[in-house]
Symmetry: C2
Subunit: 199 residues, 2 copies
Amino acid sequence: MVKQFYQAGQLIFLEGERARGIWFVVSGLVRIVKQSSTGRIQTLCALNRGRCFGTCPLFSSEINPATAEALEPTTLAVLPQTAFKEVSRQRPALALILLSVYGQRLAQLAHLSEALGTWSTADRINNCLLTYADYGAANPVVRLTHEELARLSGTVREVVTRHLAQLEKSAIVQAQPRLIEILNLGVLQSTWLCKAATP
Amino acid sequence: MVKQFYQAGQLIFLEGERARGIWFVVSGLVRIVKQSSTGRIQTLCALNRGRCFGTCPLFSSEINPATAEALEPTTLAVLPQTAFKEVSRQRPALALILLSVYGQRLAQLAHLSEALGTWSTADRINNCLLTYADYGAANPVVRLTHEELARLSGTVREVVTRHLAQLEKSAIVQAQPRLIEILNLGVLQSTWLCKAATP
DNA sequence: CCCCTGATGTGATTTAGATCACATCGCTGC
DNA sequence: GCAGCGATGTGATCTAAATCACATCAGGGG
């Protein structure tokens, strides 16, 4: 298992490349993106400490279906494909864990597809705020720029800026450069709870 | 393994329900959908003979992340969850096959997310035509109504109708009720090849 | 045959939200 | 201090596409 360090903005692997192994986030933040020919970018998910990625192609096409990029200075650990196959042969339980990870990832992408296909941009931005908030502090905080938030929610910066201004006017969030503090979690949740989960 | 028969339009399971097992399509057509509170529906994928579904929750949340619906009169085979776990214990290779299926499914949803997030509706409709065409005949045919096509591509019927009229004027497709014949595959592919794959 | 219903075709209108075009603002390096 | 750059704020357009509102068409059952 090899440790690797990446700068903010550095690409880890590209869509279409042959997969090299399975990656674990030791520290930092990684996002998985799809870029279309028109240059627009859709972020599929962002991954922090402890999460893994690059797993899709391990058992099927061998080709990365998307691009991975470091959002912050990030340390990763890579388990090369051959080593991974070795380990998984020795420990069959690993496959079950991976299946569970895959299942969650599928559910999350299904959710994203629903959001992109049927929600308004405002709803998608709210959803992203909730999804990427750090719930550690007294008030949840989102450490992303408007630009990054826009790409996560499938829109453009200006729309995010305007929507956040709106939320700030309603005292639902408190915006600072590169950081959004959520003051009223309940309101945000209520707008999207009615969309998402059926209990 | 139990065989079950469903009418066109009948729901097989609902999002949020506890998963009962893994399903195989023996004949007919099934679609996996997400429905938002506003009533709009996003179809995630359509599955024909030989494909399986309902697999996501088997190893993680136990909750179906989406709804499954029969589009045609459809015969399914169900392997209950307990039986499935039994089989997978006896045959570890099964897990690897499932991982491969999951990987493909993930790649497909990643692709859908890109399409929904960054493509124009026209591109998405073209993409759906190619994805859901039956390539058996001389000319590929798509056996879907405009309504169904709209839900697969995340738009509304009128837009599909208009776009198909456009394609028909350019002699790229030949439309008949409930059936679209693709006359010029190359043109359709060229519009989306430049979006999708990097070789 | 005719009525009914589901599938289509098509215009007119509306609007969310993408684009463009700048103005600030705050930090970093020199 | 100030030049420069990345993040943000904001107005003024522009436009793809959703919505609304009908007309038509084709098949199936009684």
